[in-house]
């Protein structure tokens, strides 16, 4: 088991390294000389040569990559071209809202999805089932930002229950932070719950006809206990699998909704960085997102062995 863990993590680290190489190569293959762009009309051969040497642009590309990667690993992530501020500090600050929204969205989607799917399965064929299935299907066909826009319109602008944009950091006013993240969390949570609802319904339907469920009921256990202890326990692995596959949707949704609600998180950094062609920031953010994504995937894989003891690794 530990062996598998180590192998899996090593593999993930290798993948991340390759991602960093690809990202680095992509940026450095772009047309245009960064020094010339920086200097514009002030360019002269001496200055250009000096700046080039300073930024290591006269070195072979693998030396430049080595320098960049060493910087990443030692905490020197460079400076954002747009803001002229250190990237590591900017990213660390931006992580807070993104993490809150991602975590909140994941919790909302899991709870809503599993509950709705289970209820739909239990009340199969009734209007509740129909409504849940239809809304899940429509939900899958709706872009995430549309959820955000509708929620913003209703709860932010018309009812004025929550602020429609902006963000306050936890360290400044924790209670206010909560009000700013409710709408984005709901938006991403509801959007993601569509797939979870569908798969929960299918998973529960598959399990509910099994003999051990009949036995549990025959034993006289309360319906609630039967559902939670037996039915859901078995369905969990399918649900967790789909939940894990939804991760890409979650992170993508975070990016989009940060834009909709004007929240200064990692997603906004990427989007704004793209507009200004702030390549160091784009590079760093893509790397951070990939590390997040890969790390959570590894955790999800490992949760399988906990959910189903029959699954052994290694």
């Amino acid at each position: 088991m530990i062996e598998f863990l180590i192998r899996r993590i090593t593999y993930s680290i290798v993948v991340i390294f390759v991602v960093s190489v690809v990202v680095f190569a992509a940026i450095h293959s772009l047309p245009g000389d960064p020094i010339e762009i920086m200097l514009q009309e002030f360019a002269n051969p001496v200055l250009t040569a000096r700046l080039r040497a300073h930024y290591l642009l006269d070195q072979p590309i693998y030396v430049q990559y080595g320098h960049w990667i060493r910087g990443i690993l030692t905490g020197e992530w460079g400076i954002s071209i747009r803001t002229q501020r250190p990237i590591l500090a900017t990213i660390t600050k931006a992580m807070q809202p993104s993490l809150i929204i991602a975590l909140g969205g994941w919790i909302v989607s899991s709870v809503v999805g599993v509950v709705l799917g289970t209820v739909a399965a239990l009340k199969r064929g009734t209007i509740i089932d129909y409504m849940a299935s239809v809304s899940a299907f429509v939900g899958l066909s709706t872009p995430a930002f549309f959820y955000g826009l509708i929620l913003m319109l209703i709860f932010g602008l018309r009812l004025r229950w929550f602020p429609s944009s902006g963000y306050v950091f936890l360290q400044d006013a924790p209670l206010e932070t909560m009000s700013y993240v409710v709408l984005p969390i709901l938006a991403i949570g509801l959007r993601m719950s569509a797939a979870i609802t569908r798969i929960s319904r299918t998973a529960v339907l598959e399990v509910i006809g099994e003999d051990y469920v009949k036995t549990a009921r025959a034993k006289g256990l309360r319906e609630g206990v039967v559902i939670i202890k037996h039915v859901l326990r078995s369905s969990m692995i399918t649900i967790v699998t789909v939940s894990g596959l939804q991760l890409g949707v979650l992170l993508g949704g975070v990016v989009i909704l940060e834009n909709v609600f004007a929240i200064p998180g990692l997603g906004s950094l990427v989007v704004n960085g793209t507009f200004f062609r702030d390549y160091p920031i784009i590079q760093a953010c893509v790397l951070v997102f990939s590390v997040w994504f890969t790390a959570i995937n590894v955790v999800v894989d490992f949760s399988y062995s906990m959910l189903d003891p029959r699954i052994h690794y290694g």
Partner: protein, 263 residues
Amino acid sequence: MSGGCILLFFVWTIIGPMVLASSPTKINLSARFSPPSLSHIGGTDNLGRDVFARVTLGCRVAVKVSMGAVVFSSILGSMFGLISGYFRGRIDAVLMRIMDVFFAIPSVILAIALVAFMGNSLTNVIIAIGIVYVPQVARVVRGATLRVREEDYVLAAKAIGGSDFHIIFKHVLRNTLPIVVSISTLYLGGAILYEATLSYLGMGVPIAALSWGRILNDARNYINTAPHTVFVAGGAIIFVVLNLNLLGDQLRDILDPKLRGSK
């Protein structure tokens, strides 16, 4: 029925712009923000332009981008999947590791980064979304190829001396094609969503090419005064993607009954 709706959508995409009553680009400031009415079915936007006409024009972008991206990813992904699944061994290992690298980057972010690097243009958006889907198609085709290559008719073809090329194209491809077709329909819907998202963020097709996402981006600033624009454009997206998803589900049930549907 969903097939019928899609057909209707295609017909409207082609003939719509020609039969429109109002021009999608004519600015009429005296009529800005008017709600849906008989003269303007979808109302007007912040510059008095007819919303329904603009959304109609947007259909073209949606169709172009989604079809382009799906064709691109189907061809490339199938190629990788077939080669990987058929030859296995080292080639398989290398190709799948390359796919893993792309899987490691969340899709929306990959699409944004690709458009950032390649620049805003219709072709680049198609390629970017296509690249996002290539690993997924490759994975599915690889799985199907792994199954098919063990079938008797493949072994028989090998026994009578069929070349690998011949076997892949005549036997394996023919039997993996249904799966590619059924997932392609689902990816069509997904591609439309990606394109709308990219355009909403300002990173999709150029402004001149009217995209639903771009319309929603403009509408966002006026959402409180004129929410009808958001609903019409968003409704169009949902309508098309919903029918594509329904069609994809039905196709999947027909073409591969072994795959259980989630009904």
